[in-house]
Symmetry: C2
Subunit: 485 residues, 2 copies
Amino acid sequence: MIDNREDKKESIDNKESLSETLQQVLHLLDKHKLVEHVVHKQDMPKHGLVESLVHKQNLNILQHKLEQLHPADVAYILEALPLVDRLRVWELVKADRDGEILLEVSDAVRQTLIADMDSEELLAAAEQLDTDELADLAPDLPKDVLQDLMYSLDTQNRERLQSALSYPEDTVGAMMDFDIVTIRDDITLEVVLRYLRRLPNLPDHTDKLFVVNRDDILQGVLPLKRIILNDPDTGVRDIMATDAVMFHPEDMADQAAMAFERYDLVTAPVVDNNRKLVGRVTVDTVMDIIREEAESDMLSMAGLREEEDFFASVWKSVQNRWAWLAINLVTALLASRVIGLFEGSIEKIVALAALMPIVAGIGGNSGNQTTTMIVRGLALGQISGYHMRSLLKKEMGVALLNGLLWGSVLGLVAYWLYGNASLGLVMMAAMALNLLLAAIIGVTIPLVMNKFDRDPAVGSSVLITALTDSGGFMIFLGLATIFLI
Amino acid sequence: MIDNREDKKESIDNKESLSETLQQVLHLLDKHKLVEHVVHKQDMPKHGLVESLVHKQNLNILQHKLEQLHPADVAYILEALPLVDRLRVWELVKADRDGEILLEVSDAVRQTLIADMDSEELLAAAEQLDTDELADLAPDLPKDVLQDLMYSLDTQNRERLQSALSYPEDTVGAMMDFDIVTIRDDITLEVVLRYLRRLPNLPDHTDKLFVVNRDDILQGVLPLKRIILNDPDTGVRDIMATDAVMFHPEDMADQAAMAFERYDLVTAPVVDNNRKLVGRVTVDTVMDIIREEAESDMLSMAGLREEEDFFASVWKSVQNRWAWLAINLVTALLASRVIGLFEGSIEKIVALAALMPIVAGIGGNSGNQTTTMIVRGLALGQISGYHMRSLLKKEMGVALLNGLLWGSVLGLVAYWLYGNASLGLVMMAAMALNLLLAAIIGVTIPLVMNKFDRDPAVGSSVLITALTDSGGFMIFLGLATIFLI
C-alpha cells in the first residue's frame, strides 16, 4: 500500500510526463468550449508552444490554469484524467479547495482522491464544508477521520450531521441542506429588508424565505420576488404563500425530483410531521438526482453494479462486472442444457443448429424492448401493476403481429436455404410463439419486481434473456422434434 | 378518420365506463402521495363510495378534482390513462388550460390530444401561450393552424417564433425563452426597485436581472439577492456581476445543461455574436433536457426509436419497433450462416451445437457492458477518441482476466458433461478470444461513431451483438474444426 503510493509520487515528479498532463488538461479545457468561454477568459497557449516549455514553467502554467477554474470544472478534469495525471493535478489544487472539489467528483473518483490524502488533509478539507455537504462526503471518509470530525463540530451541527446520515440515500432527508433563512409573519417587508441587509450573504439558490412561528412551525413561504415587487409597508402575512410545495425527510428523492420538475421549483422547505421546518431542498441537488437516477437505470440494465471510474484499474473493473457475467453464464448453461435434450434431433437435421439461435435471439431483443418501456414507465410513475392486463394485451398484440410478419419472412428463408417446407412452417410457428413468450415475461417481470419493491431495472434484462433463450430453444427444437422427426 | 372519432365520442359518453375513468384518476392521485399532499388538500372520497354515485355526480367530482390540479399534474394523469379515459378527461379540462397542459405532456401523448381538437380549439389554446412555448408546440400543430397563428401574432412575436423555430431542436436557441427583464447600468438600486414595483409580476425563475446598454448589448447581470442585500443608494454598475455564464443560441443544449449543473445556475442569458441579449435559459427547461437526454440514450440502446405512448395502439408500437427487429433478424441470419459453414463439424460432434450459444452470449453481454460504460462517458464528456488506446488496453485486460476465469470454469463444465478434455480446452480458448473481440469492438464502435458525429447510443448495441455472435460461432466452431475433427 505504502510502496504503491511511493511509486505514484515518483511518477508524479517525473518531468517528461508532466508536460503530457498539462497537455491533457489543455485538451480538456479546449474540447469543452463552454468552460473556456465562460470561466476562462484570456488566451490559452497553443499546444506547440507548450511542448517547448520547461518543467517549472509547465507546473506554473498548470497551477495558474487550475486556480482560475470553478471547483466543478476541476472535478470534471480530475474525472477525465488517468490515475497518474489525476493525482498530479490533485496535488496542485488540493491545498485550497479540496473539500468543494471532493463533493463534485463521482463516488468512484472520490475514492481514488481520498486514498491519496492523509488524515490531517482530510480533516482540513471537511472543515471547509457545510453540514449537509459533510453528510455527502461522510460515507467515503475513514472511520477515525469521521470521528475526529464529529468531535470538532458544535452541538447543533453534530446533531444535523447525525440526522442527515440517519436517512437512507434515496430519501429527501439525505438530499436536504440546512441553509435556511427564516422570518416571522408579523413583520413588514421593511423589517425583512433591514434584517436581510445585515446578513453577509444569502445562501445559494435562495428564491424564497421561510416564514415560521416561534416553534419553527412553517407558516408559509415568502418569495424574494414578492419582497421586491411589493411596497415596504406590506406585512409578511399578507403576501406570503401558504400553499407551497413541501416535503418530509422520509419522502423518496425521486418523487421529490419529479415534483420539482412538475411544479418548476427552485427551492422547497422540508418539514417534519408537526410541520416543523428542518431543512430545504434546492434545484441543483435535484438535477444531480435526475441524472444519477436515469444513469443508474441504464447501468443496471447492462448489469453494471455501480458507477465505474473510466480509468479504474483492471482489477476494480473485473469486480464491478463479474457478478453479471457469472449470472449470464449460469443462464447460458441452462439454455445449453435445453439444447442438450434435443441432441438426437439435431443429429438428424443439422439445419436446426443453425436456425435455433435466430429464434432465441429475436425473443430476447423483443422482450428487452418491452421491458425497457415498462421500466421507464414505472420510473416516471405512469404505469403500475394496475395496468398489467391492458399492457399484456397490447404487448401480446404487438408480438403476434411481429411474429407472423417476421416469422413468415424467416420461414421462407429457411425453406429457400434448406428446401424443406415443413422446416419453414416450424420456424414461423416457433418465432411467433417465442415472441409471445417474450411479451408476457417482458411485461410481468418488471411489474412483479416493482410490486415487491425491487428495482425493476436491476436484473430484469438478464432474467428475460434467460427465459427467451431457453424458451426459444425449447419451442423450436420441440416443434421440430414433433413435426419433422 | 371521422367515423373513428365518432366511436370514441360514443364510448366517452358511456355511463358505466365513466365511473371507471374516475376511479383510475383517483387511483393515480392516490398513488402519488406528493400530488395529493401538496396540491390537493381536502379529503378524497373512498373508492367504495364512488361506485355508488350516479353519472352526473361522477362527472362533477371528476371535473372538480381536475380543476384543482396543477397543469403538470393533469398532464401526468393524461399520460397514465388509456386512450378512451384520456380523451374523456381531456374533454373536461381542455376548455380552460389546454395550452399549458399540451406543453407538459410527452410528444407521443400530445399527438393523441391534438388529434382530438379542431382548428378553433387549437388556435384558442395556442393563443394562451408565450412565444417560446409556441415554438415547442408548433411542430405538432397542423399546417393551417400554424399559419393562422402566425398571422395572429404581432411583428416582434412573429419574428421571435420564426427565429426559435429556425434553431435545431438540440440547441440553446430552441430551449431559450424571451421573458427577460433588462435594466441599465447607470441607475441606482432605488430606481431599479421603483421600476420593478411598477411591473405586474416578474417572470418565473427570475433570479437575476440583465444589465444592457441602449443597443441591448449585455453588460452584466444583477442577482435579485444583491438588490436586496445592498443599500438602495448603490449603483447597478458597482454591484452587477460581469463574469456571468452566458450562452449562444447555436450552443448545444446538452452542453448548456452540463454548465447549469456544474455552476448551479437558475437562469442564464443567451447572447448573439455581438453580445446582444436575445433570450434566457431557465433551470426548468434544463431539467427536462437532462431527463430526456438520459432517457433517449436508454431507449436508443434498446432499439426503440422514440418515446412511445404506453397506451398507444398495437399498430403504432409495431411501427416504433419493427426497424430494430428487422436489423436484428438480418444479423441473426448472418450468424446463422456462420454456423451453416460448420454443419459438417456439428454433425460429427453434436455437443458443439449445445455449447456454441454460451460462447456467443457471453461475448455479447460483456461487449454491451463495455459499450454502456463508454456511451455514458461520452455523454458526460469525460472520454473521447483521445483515450482510445488507454481504454482499449484496460478493457482488453478485463476481458482477458474474465476470459481465463470463466473460460476455465466453462471448459471444466464441458469436460464434465461430455468427457472430452480437448473439447474443454477449445471451449476455454474460444471464450477468452471472444471476450477479447467483444472488448475491442465494445470500445471502438462507440468511439468511432462519436468521431463521425453519430449518436453512439443508437445502434451500437445491435452492432456489437451481431459481431460477437458471428465472431463467437466462428471462433468456437473454427477452433473445434481445427483441433477436434
